[in-house]
Amino acid sequence: MFSYFFKRLFQAILVMIVVAFVSFSLFNFVGDPVISLTGEDSSVERQAEVREAIGLNDPVYVQFSRFLGNVIQGDFGISYQLKREVSDLIAERMPATLELVFVSALLAIIVGVILGVYTGIHRDSFVSNIILVVSLAGVSLPTFIIGIMLIYLFSVILGVLPSFGRGEVIDLGLWSTGFLTASGLKALILPSITLSLFQMTYVIRLVRAEMMEILQTDYIKFAKARGIKKNTVNYKHALKNGLIPVITITGINIGTLIAFSIITETVFQWPGMGLLFINAVYFVDIPIMSAYMIMVAFIFVMINFIVDITYYFIDPRIRIKDEMS
């Protein structure tokens, strides 16, 4: 148990250190951090002073450990372009992204499970075929085109939903939320549909395949033979087991949603972290880029670590393999 746990933990830490080192090298070896702080026309003495003050004359390992220390304390430096603390910028943008991702994940799971169960039970019905064809389109259409199409339909032609921004937000101190105002909720609709569509199709297919497999098993046949009502068999006996894989992929889903939120946020000018990152790439704003990179890597490593550990408890094969070695 513990050896497995520590092996995974060690791997997670290793990945984080590699990512941190990449962003550290971006800071130090790309361009000249001294010039980006003092300006092009500063005197040589001033530059030397700043170089000494921010510790660029120290050996690389000292600089790297200092960098790590700062990152752990949440200090990512000052944005070159916006001239503000990166940690403040991220704290400002985080609620927007997390609210979007949360609503999309919820939408993907709820709608995905309902449609998946329906298409799994009514295998060859007309409605099932339509759902499957539409979901195939959802996989093959690029996210940004879906977003543009939704904007064109609901904002330009029908004019019922806003096409950009978060609407009115209410500031709750550390967290600014769009959940509490009508315009905030309205602004959420299109972006969250865009973001969730891709995931939703996965959930539909997964649940459908799982339901179809379970409905073939013996215990379902026996339940039917015992004369239990069809709906009880379908929704109580079969669905319970069909949902297990959904739970395990939900974790991975959230990481993917955060990644794809970059695209959705750009299409809808949603003021979240993804938009911040794209602008940073555009203006080569390294502090923001490296902060985003470290954060996303951290989220992915955490999710994977948790999934690995859960698998250890769920899947006995891993446990046996671990105990044998």
């Binding site: 996210t143 085109i145 543009i148 904007i151 991975i252 990481g255 695209i263 790439v281 080569v284 390294i286």
Partner: protein, 307 residues
Amino acid sequence: MLTKTFNKIYDTDVGYSFFNSKIAIISSAILFVIFLCSVFAGLVAPYNPFDPATVSLMDAFTPPSWSEGGNPAFFLGTDQQGRDMFSTMIYGSRISLIVGFASIIFAMILGVFLGVTAGYIGGRYEIIVMRLTDVQLTIPSILMALLVNGIAKSVISQSMHSEMAIYVLIFAIGISEWPQFARVSRASTLVEKNKEYVSASRIIGLSNILIMFKHILPNILRPLLVIATIGLALAIITESTLSFLGVGVPPTTPSLGTLIRFGNSFLFSGEWWITFFPAIFLIILALSINLLGDWMRDALNPKLKIR
């Protein structure tokens, strides 16, 4: 003579399956036309959109020829700079296809090299390569491409950006897609490694490099071809997404994604065709490649057919 070659192709397993699959025929016909158009863009396109002499701002925002105010000279209308949409799209698809092909070839070379050597040599090297693919496969490829693209862009100096942008993009998309190739080629190499022809090659004293890349590689090409086809669609979509986000190819050589990005800002003023046609074109392109890839997976893998 021609019928003879046709019959010969028809008689093979793959040929038979191809000529009996409507989807495969239609999608490959569409792709063939698109490829031809983009290769001979200079001949097919009625205008050269990048020649300032033929572009007039007076023609800007002309709607498609069949709608009100359209000009028969511009079949699909013109964009904000008065460039013919049809010609711009053909030149744009050329950029999309070049980046798509180049990045998938890059991913394939990198992935197959690491995968075959990992499968053949084994040991600690194999563990490291496979762990690397495991870690990277948990990250969505589009995020990987975005991050690598951002890092590579900040490494090269700002003045070089527009010249290097395409190479940076190819590198970034290639890096984001290599693990698939590495996984499959490693798995196939593990199977091939124990076959008699490999032992025979070893006994007659062939070098390991020769065995790996001249004898094993040709035998594992089939599954790699399938991944490369589906990967090509993904690479084209990734390229257009990055260009749409404004971090892909420079605006002076627009790809389909860049065109959609430009057109997106005119959606509200009613000029829908500037976005619509490139978007439809991109969807058709990606969908045809995907469908062809699906067919290929079934045709090249007889094991699936038995089910």
